[in-house]
């Protein structure tokens, strides 16, 4: 495994963690992040989400929600998700503060907004190392089922990227082929560290 991957969604809970979980299981070098200002999890109603700071351990959230309404959060899959997450890493991390984590070769985002934020964030960083980074957006709806599908497709794409020598030369083909095979819209951009 040559490349370092980052998978990014909004809250670093569902889509990115699903992909993180899967890629990690497959032995990829992967980190996961969220770009939002806070970690938001669905609450009893649309207007009352559960809001946490990035860095709050998944375990803590798990306990918190289980205390609040175990039935609800079990039924809507939040508790199982958190359980899965805490097995992958300790706490959600924010993309904008991931400087110390080093550079990635490929960053996957699962939402246009997140893609924009990652691109903008990379733009504002010091681009000293001149290390190219490929940012790919794969639009995935924020629910458990879609997240699972998205993670599998991310894995496929990662495997394809691993299989080629230098992604710069063939990225157009890889993306186009992937789009055709999976009937998904994908966009990519290139930034630098």
């Amino acid at each position: 495994m040559r490349l370092r991957y980052a998978v990014v969604c909004s809250s670093n809970q569902n889509r990115s963690m699903e992909a993180h979980f899967l890629l990690k299981r497959e032995g990829f070098d992967v980190c996961s992040y969220g770009t939002g200002t806070h970690v938001k999890l669905p609450g009893p109603s649309l207007r009352e989400p559960n809001v946490y700071e990035f860095g709050t351990p998944y375990k803590q959230m798990f306990d918190d929600l289980r205390r609040k309404d175990p039935e609800l959060y079990k039924r809507n899959g939040i508790l199982p998700m958190l359980k899965r997450n805490l097995a992958v890493k300790t706490a959600p991390q924010r993309w904008q503060e991931n400087g110390p984590d080093g550079q990635f070769d490929v960053v996957f985002t699962f939402e246009e907004k997140v893609f924009d934020m990652v691109a903008e964030d990379l733009h504002t960083r010091d681009q000293v190392l001149l290390k190219p980074v490929l940012v790919i957006n794969l639009e995935v709806k924020d629910n458990h089922e879609e997240a699972a599908v998205g993670a599998r497709q991310t894995l496929t794409l990662c495997q394809e990227l691993e299989a080629i020598d230098r992604w710069e030369d063939v990225i157009d083909d890889v993306i186009s082929t992937f789009e055709r095979q999976h009937r998904r819209k994908v966009v990519y951009t290139i930034s630098f560290y």
Partner: protein, 1299 residues
């Protein structure tokens, strides 16, 4: 470890790296060697060591292991960064490996090279600042770096593996960022230069022996151009190259706003069709979207300006939501910034200057926001300062002004930059070209004109400019003798050019803006520049010691130093005071305001300073020649010569020579660069001439430069020049001619707009020159407008567009419009007149819509046209007003009022007369409603009361045509708003004849136009004002014409008839809808009407409606007429007779059969209709064939004992008489007394009747009494009969007589 053993170890390691068979060993040896080299680099004799070792390193570049080469690159990078002094020898490795077959190696060498590049650049700048010189090795390194740069630029363009190209593109971006000043990036937290790229081009502001800021900028421009080219050639590249280019351009656009407009337009113009086949198009498009969103995030004013455009594009890309979100974020940021600015300002209330408050908040915000970045940047300057250990004199004003020096206007910045380029001579030429091609045309024009402004008013003054290689004012180290250079030095870290020093001079003389001067950095570079500034400041301080004290307080940031004694300073600089006045006064307005802020009450001081200063410079002027010659004899003579040429040419008023003077910056420099343009003061007239010539040349240039080349620049230039020529007729004519000739391709319009807006802006901004600029503006606008009218066809929209888009319309423009629309007097161009009016009105329309401020004025013109005496104009104007303007809510009321007034004036003017007339003639007038039947002029003449001249005249002036003229508009409005008709009805009664006629003429058109939507009309009809009956009838006639009246109308009219208006006339139009039962009751009323109306009514009755058929058949009509009883119905018998006659006139309707039928019906009636016999006689007259039928009728009458009805009896006998001999049979049926009477009455009957009766067949059937009466009584039979008859006769006849 000793240095020699280190050396040996390193050598063996390198040998291993070169020769060992195992790759791993090679790599580890190489790395170890590198470590040793770096460790030993601190040794004194390292250079020897390096000389020995580095060749081995260089050898490694030909290793066939790409990993070794890659590691070599890393090693070279590390060593170069650590021991740059010794690494020039390693640079060829870098260059060679750039083109390595293995793209990984190539990539690494680009990255390594870039890092070395940056640090060499930084070192160059720092070294010079620290030590005042640049070492040879560093220069050598830099020359390698330039080679590296060129090589990488090539890589970006070559078809190669993508990896290195991506990095090459990134490198180009870095180059642009490094070499372009970012003095615009205030207020832009995110875009502050990164710690990695510490180098900032502004460090070179003080000049640099190796690095030349202008050359670097031109390098940057070249790199930028390569990027733009790459974008244009996107079809030839893989998608990720294009994406990379887009991203890089976006970064450049955001961080270097000089390029923003080019970047934006390049990105906007990017054609998705150009994308190469294999590329992933959505991603490329998305990269554009990301770029635009990025721009939207910027709060820089330049970028903010294009927000609308960006939003539009983003919306078109379906990124509207994202864009909106970004906008919200940015707005929030700005608001926070403003709040912070307010707080900061509040805390700074020790300087409560009005200027501070006046300044726009964004600017403040920018300063606040950028404060940390500027302090970051200025830190560099202060470091040098402390290092240099110099004693600096600190001027409070300038120190304080330091952060504000950023506030240089773009024009001044650019002038400074161009000046610097000029100073570079040939080297700068290319950069200058690039620079100029990049400058926004408006800016470029401003630059040129700003410079032209500085053409002196005073008589030519001979001066020379010394070209300086060194940067004496900007670098304290370079010119340590200068006492106060620290201030320019600190600022030089802020500003890219040497102009900063001049800009800091706190001259507050506003007037000086118009004074001869040239804002040229070379002048700033003159020793004189500083010294004179000095003097002035010194005067200031000496004049107001207290003030000086406070100044110094403000400079608390710096080491506080008392200013040098003024005497000393003047003495020191005495020989340098010779610089021309212009130079010392070249300050920009920004600084002036800032200075005002800082020293709130220094107005007095200023004046003092200025006065003193003027004295100084006046004194200084005489020795100019002398000093110049002393300083550099060669140059001064050159310039004296050229100057003489100029003066000569001025005297000759040669048209071409001055041109070479007036465009010195752009033209002269490119031709013969080394010669610094001399500075010439021109007289008023010369300036004027030059401006004229400049305009002429620009206009001429259009002929040569077809297409859009420099179009913008030329426009901007022309507009500024026009503003300066002070309404010179020739010039304006010349431009007009040019504009009109060019109007077709629409450039003319743009030019005019440019000029107008510029003039307008001047007018707005400069109240003192208000009148003259306003005058030029007006003249120009009108001139162009007239030209357009004269030259272009009338259907051309240019005129209207001109007026619509002009920034302001003077009074005379309204006059012009008025002339076009309402002119009677342009009889010379009758043919096009109509079209012109049309054009004028069209313009009015668009102006009313487009210029709300002047709406009333335009409307007035339009309305005036709408009552114009000429039919043609009027009808056009009415069409405009009624159809297009009246629908506009805001003005509809005004239009209505106007039309109403016109109507009322038409009606009312003669109203007084009409009243007087009725008073005077009340006896003689008929009471007929239709006053219109009275001949108007006649009555007014007869009437003694209205004999006054004026009245009768006004009356006669109200001719039908005039009435028409006044009413047309109103009626046109009625079509749009039928309720207005009420007024017509209301006033109808008072209207004079001519007006009534006009109304009668309009109403049919109106009603027809209204169509079925006459609800309002029905309302009026239901309650018509007194005296409007005629009008009402007319209206109804028209309404019912050719169509079945609507049920509403019928109901309304019927009700009206039943309640208010007993005039059957109004029923006529709707009669066709009446049933028999409805008609019959009103029939007498109809008969009673004047004959013509009755005839109409008759026609309606007989016509009937489509579904019901006629209400009455003709026969029934006849019967109905006859049924009218004069006594009972109150209808004069005469009317009934007339009605009958009217029927008989219509022989096609009242045919023989109809008559027969009617008569047949009537004859059975009891009593017989009064006019029965009359009708019978008429019938037999009209249709002689009816004779047999009539005879039968007569017989019936006989049997009805017609002689008992005296009135009929007369008719009967008349009929008998007329119808003889056919009537004999009937006659003979009469009883003999009646026969006797008849024969007595009509004696002529006797003979023929006797002859008839004497016929044997008849005679036999006749009674005796009859025969007796006929004198045929000889026969006994007859006598018998006769007897019998006479027996009965007496009482019968008596009876008849009794009836």
């Amino acid at each position: 470890m000793s240095s020699s053993s280190q050396r040996e170890q390193a050598l063996s390691l390198l040998a291993a790296a070169n020769n060992h068979g195992d790759l791993a060993v090679k790599l580890s040896s190489l790395k170890q060697a590198k470590d040793i080299i770096i460790i030993s680099s601190i040794d004194d004799d390292f250079s020897l060591f390096a000389d020995q070792l580095f060749p081995y390193l260089v050898q490694l570049q030909s290793s066939h292991h790409s990993l070794v080469r890659k590691t070599l690159i890393e090693v070279v990078e590390d060593i170069s960064l650590k021991t740059m002094e010794h690494s020039p020898v390693l640079m060829p490795v870098l260059l060679t490996l750039l083109n390595d077959d293995d793209s990984v190696v190539a990539r690494h060498s680009i990255v390594a090279g870039t890092h070395i590049f940056c640090s060499v650049l930084e070192e160059l700048a720092l070294q010079f600042h620290r030590h005042g010189f640049v070492e040879r090795w560093l220069e050598e390194m830099w020359s390698w770096m330039l080679k590296f740069k060129d090589a990488v630029s090539r890589i970006a363009l070559e078809a190669r593996p993508v990896g290195p190209r991506l990095l090459a593109i990134k490198f180009l971006e870095i180059c642009v960022l490094l070499f372009m000043p970012d003095n615009d990036s205030r207020g832009h937290i995110a875009e502050v230069p990164k710690s990695s790229q510490v180098f900032n081009i502004s460090w070179l502001a003080g000049g640099h022996p190796v690095l030349d800021s202008i050359a670097l900028q031109s390098e940057a421009n070249r790199s930028f151009m390569i990027l733009l080219d790459l974008l244009r050639l996107a079809s030839g590249h893989p998608g990720c190259i294009t994406i990379s280019v887009v991203n890089s351009l976006a970064t450049i656009g955001r961080r270097r706003q000089v390029h923003y407009s080019s970047v934006l337009s390049a990105l906007l113009d990017f054609d998705a069709n150009l994308i190469s086949k294999g590329a992933h198009t959505p991603s490329i498009q998305y990269s554009l979207r990301t770029a635009f969103l990025g721009f939207l995030r910027s709060t820089h004013p330049v970028i903010m300006e294009s927000r609308e455009k960006l939003l539009k594009v983003l919306r078109a890309m379906n990124a509207g939501d994202a864009a909106d979100q970004v906008m919200r974020q940015v707005d929030k940021m700005i608001r926070n910034g403003e709040r912070a600015a307010r707080d900061a300002r509040a805390s700074k209330d020790e300087q409560p200057s009005s200027h501070m408050l006046k300044r726009s908040t964004p600017m403040d915000q920018e300063h606040i926001v950028s404060s940390d970045s500027s302090s970051k940047r200025s830190r560099y300057g202060s470091i040098i300062q402390s290092e240099s250990g110099q004693n600096h004199s600190v001027n409070g004003v300038s120190t304080k002004a330091q952060p504000l020096a950023n506030g240089l206007t773009p024009v001044e910045q650019m002038i400074a930059m161009i000046g610097a380029l000029l100073a570079e001579g040939e080297r700068g030429a290319e950069s200058l070209e690039i620079l100029i091609s990049q400058i926004h045309p408006d800016l470029l024009a401003d630059i040129v004109v700003t410079n032209m402004k500085h053409l002196p008013k005073n008589p030519p003054l001979l001066t020379t400019v010394t070209r300086q290689n060194g940067p004496p004012t900007s670098s304290s180290l370079g010119a340590p003798t200068m006492p106060n250079h620290v201030l320019t030095n600190t600022i030089s870290s802020e500003l890219p050019t040497t102009a900063s020093s001049t800009n800091l001079q706190p001259d507050l003389k506003r007037e000086s803006r118009r004074d001869p001067r040239r804002l040229d950095p070379r002048r700033g570079a003159l020793p004189g520049g500083t010294s004179s500034e000095h003097i002035m400041e010194d005067f200031t301080t000496s004049a107001q010691p207290g003030l000086a004290e406070s100044d110094v307080d403000m400079s608390a940031l710096f080491k506080r130093q008392p200013p040098p004694p003024p005497v000393l300073s003047s003495a020191e600089n005495a020989s340098e005071i010779v610089m021309p006045k212009a130079e010392t006064e070249s300050h920009d307005p920004e600084n002036i305001t800032f200075s005002l802020e800082l020293v709130p009450d220094e107005q007095a001081t200023q004046v003092g300073a200025d006065m003193e200063f003027n004295i100084v410079s006046d004194v200084a002027t005489p020795p100019i020649d002398y000093v110049n010659k002393e300083l550099n004899a060669e140059k001064s003579t050159d310039i004296v010569m050229t100057d003489e040429e100029h003066s000569l040419s001025f005297m000759d008023d040669d048209q071409l020579s001055p041109c070479t003077v007036d465009t010195p910056v752009l033209e002269e420099t490119s031709v013969e660069l080394p010669v610094v343009p001399s500075y010439v003061e021109l007289t008023e007239k010369q300036q004027k001439d030059i401006r004229k010539l400049a305009i002429k040349r620009i206009i001429d240039s259009y002929k040569q430069l077809r297409g859009a080349e420099f179009m913008q620049t030329r426009m901007a230039l022309l507009s500024r020049l026009v503003a300066q020529v002070d309404a010179d007729d020739d010039v304006i004519m010349m431009i007009q001619k040019h504009i009109v000739s060019d109007y077709q391709d629409q450039k003319g319009h743009e030019l005019v707009m440019h000029v107008l807006y510029h003039l307008h802006a001047l007018k707005m901004s400069d109240s003192s020159e208000d009148s003259s600029v306003a005058f030029v503006y007006e003249k120009f606008l009108l001139g162009v407008a007239k030209c357009l009218l004269d030259v272009l066809p009338a259907n051309d929209k240019s005129f209207s567009r001109l007026f619509s888009e002009a920034p302001f319309l003077p009074e005379s423009a309204f006059k012009l419009l008025d002339d076009i629309c309402c002119s009677d007097n342009n009889c010379g161009k009758d043919i096009r007149d109509g079209d012109r009016v049309h054009q004028g009105l069209g313009s009015l329309w668009s102006l009313i819509l487009g210029r709300p401020n002047n709406r009333q004025a335009f409307l007035d013109i339009a309305l005036r046209c709408a009552v114009h005496p000429k039919d043609d104009i009027r009808s056009k104007a009415i069409r405009l007003v009624a159809n297009k303007l009246y629908v506009i809510e805001i003005i509809s009321e005004k239009i209505e009022d106007f039309a109403t007034n016109k109507l009322l004036s038409a009606v009312n003017k003669p109203v007084s007369e009409a009243e007087q007339r009725t008073e005077g003639q009340i006896g003689s007038q008929e009471t007929s409603i239709s006053g219109s039947q009275i001949s108007e002029p006649g009555t007014s003449n007869i009437d003694p009361a209205t004999g006054s001249q004026s009245d009768s005249q006004s009356d006669s002036s109200m001719s039908p045509a005039l009435a028409q003229q006044h009413l047309s508009l109103f009626f046109a409005l009625c079509i749009k708003k039928p309720s207005l008709l009420q007024l017509v009805f209301d006033r109808y009664d008072y209207a004079p004849k001519a007006v009534k006629q006009a109304i009668h003429r309009h109403v049919p058109i109106l009603i027809r136009a209204l169509g079925p939507s006459y609800k309002d009309l029905l309302k009026i009809i239901s309650d018509p004002p007194q005296g409007s009956e005629n009008l009402l009838t007319l209206v109804m006639q028209v309404m019912c014409e050719g169509t079945t009246p609507s049920a509403d109308l019928v109901v309304t009219v019927k009700r009206l008839y039943e309640t208010k208006l007993k005039d059957a006339t109004i029923l006529i139009p709707i009669l066709s809808t009446f049933t028999k039962n409805e008609v019959l009751p009103i029939f007498p009323r109809l008969v009673q009407l004047p004959l013509d109306k009755f005839q109409t009514a008759l026609a309606h009755i007989l016509q009937g409606s489509a579904h019901m058929g006629p209400a009455l058949t003709p026969a029934e009509v006849l019967v109905a007429i006859h049924d009218i009883s004069p006594e009972k119905d109150g209808v004069p018998l005469k009317k009934v007779m007339d009605a009958c006659s009217a029927c008989f006139e219509q022989r096609t309707v009242f045919t023989q059969q109809v008559l027969a039928k009617a008569l047949n019906q009537m004859v059975d009636q009891t009593p017989l209709p009064l006019l029965f016999m009359r009708t019978v006689i008429q019938a037999i007259d009209a249709f002689p064939k009816l004779v047999d039928f009539v005879m039968e009728l007569l017989s019936k009458l006989v049997s009805k004992q017609v002689w008992r009805m005296p009135k009929l009896w007369v008719g009967f006998l008349k009929c008998i008489s007329q119808t003889q001999p056919h009537s004999f049979r009937v006659l003979l049926q009469l009883p003999s007394p009646q026969l006797e009477g008849a024969l007595n009455k009509y004696g002529s009957l006797r003979g023929p009747l006797a002859a008839y009766a004497n016929q044997p067949s008849i005679k036999a059937s006749l009674p005796r009494s009859t025969l007796q009466a006929l004198g045929l009584a000889s026969e006994p039979q007859l006598q018998q009969q006769n007897h019998a008859a006479s027996f009965n006769n007496p009482d019968k006849s008596a009876k008849v007589q009794g009836t």
